[in-house]
Symmetry: C2
């Protein structure tokens, strides 16, 4: 398939590379040109603008930081919508507000362009390995057209529901991950300050009702104080904010998300925004030291 | 082994039965006599008091509601300490304050009685099936003496550390479980009110970083509104309170536990204390209805 790809960051670049490895031909656009050059060296075509990335391709993928980026690139003044032809398949793999997916999708629908929102989980390692979990929203026919591309980038791909529901699933996922990290940190602090061997406690509880992917993947980082990302605190804050905006409009009460979001904000203000989200443990350590010094 | 057993409640009765099935002979005491009669019918000896349950046995097990019960039964005025002989192995399998385990243990130590604190997870179903996870604190020699008994009641048994650390592990476990249930509930409400199919979202996220034992075991209950316990809200409140007391003395900051504990308190005050702890989801539903009615 000929695929336009906009947004060659930590996630986007390896995703685009996996598409090329799977035999798709790429036309790429990125604001900073380093990643573009790398992909051109591998045989990709360089688009001269984001609008141009949508010209002469079967599908267009965007992997951008947040909702305003997707909106401006797709339906802004110089947006892709002015360049793309009827019949294009558009897949936004950014993690953005579900309502913005719907807004962009309906503007594109008028031009005969089908859109999927298909955010991913699995981080940069999953992007490099081609093992991302892809949560898609949109029409079944569009999902089926996208499958050859999803197979090149991910190891699981689920059509959750209509447009926007991919991002709803992603917000759900990231709310749970943040909450699970927060309570894991709090509980491990109780062990640590009780003078109890964390490794043995983890062995005693991991197979039971306290077991989780977060416990398995984040406890070793906490024990080693290895807060290299992984998933950065500032990105998690963005997702939690999008969850709060989405929940707010639905009139939801989200006290755990409000709390974890504020704890992460504290760390970000202290300059730790680029660290792995498991560094939330240091918040509890610092609070303990402050309270007891 | 000849085993005294005090406390034949929802957990204690099936645990005692599994000891008998494994060939141990039991001497049992319980305040209400129904369970005693059942065990006597199976061949157990009836003790005339809790003190008597410790006489003529190799090991004594208690399975009681909370710290004050263990303290009074063991080191109160008519406490076991006045009846038990040197060399007895005492195993408290109640979930209590780690500091009370230590206090009881040191009073018994003076009489030459070794104590383990060995709380369990797995609920009444695990107690019946003999598949409890046992988290023990105490001396290694005492742990090894207890192994034939643990094997009859559980499928995993870990010596976490010195006396009290079994209960520290249990508090850690139950803090994590409560926090994981709270954020799962909050996140599923976001899906539900977004009009997104919960089953499909769960399929999309369960294999990734949001996956957990709580998600696997509690989501089906939430989807079916089946809040039959399982693990009762009032018991979880007790454990969270013990975590708060323990953390408070250590000068810890435990905002997630404080929050989840207060949410469970709200439900208990509304008369839902006997429901499964997954009924926390109804708190978020009710808050949503109140806010939007």
């Amino acid at each position: 398939m000929k695929v336009g790809f906009i947004g060659l960051g930590i996630m986007g670049k390896p995703m685009a590379m996996n598409l090329m490895k799977a035999g798709h031909s790429l036309k790429v656009y990125n604001r900073s040109k380093g990643a573009v050059k790398e992909l051109v060296a591998l045989g990709a075509e360089e688009a001269i603008s984001h609008g141009d990335a949508a010209v002469g391709v079967d599908a267009l993928i965007t992997m951008l930081p947040d909702s305003p980026d997707v909106k401006s690139v797709m339906i802004g003044e110089e947006g892709v919508v002015n360049y793309a032809k009827k019949g294009l398949l558009y897949i936004d793999m950014s993690s953005i507000l579900p309502e913005v997916s719907k807004e962009v999708g309906s503007a594109l629908k008028e031009k005969g362009i089908d859109m999927l929102d298909a955010p991913v989980s699995g981080g940069d390692l999953g992007a490099i390995a081609g093992t991302l979990a892809i949560m898609a929203g949109g029409e079944k026919s569009a999902f089926q057209r996208a499958l050859p591309l999803f197979k090149a980038m991910g190891s699981s791909y689920v059509l959750v529901g209509p447009l926007g529901s991919g991002n709803t699933a992603k917000l759900t996922n990231n709310m749970i991950v943040a909450g699970n990290i927060a309570i894991l940190s709090e509980a491990l602090m109780l062990c640590k300050e009780s003078g109890t061997d964390l490794t043995k406690v983890l062995d005693a509880i991991r197979g039971g009702s306290a077991g989780s992917a977060v416990l398995e993947t984040k406890s070793p980082k906490i024990l080693k104080k290895d807060y290299k990302p992984g998933f950065k605190i500032d990105l998690h804050i963005k997702d939690l904010k999008n969850a709060q905006i989405t929940g707010g409009k639905l009139g939801l009460h989200m006290p755990i998300t409000d709390l974890t979001s504020s704890l992460y904000e504290t760390l970000s203000k202290e300059g730790l925004g680029e660290m792995d989200h498991s560094a939330l443990f240091t918040y509890f350590e610092n609070m303990h030291h402050e309270k007891n010094s």
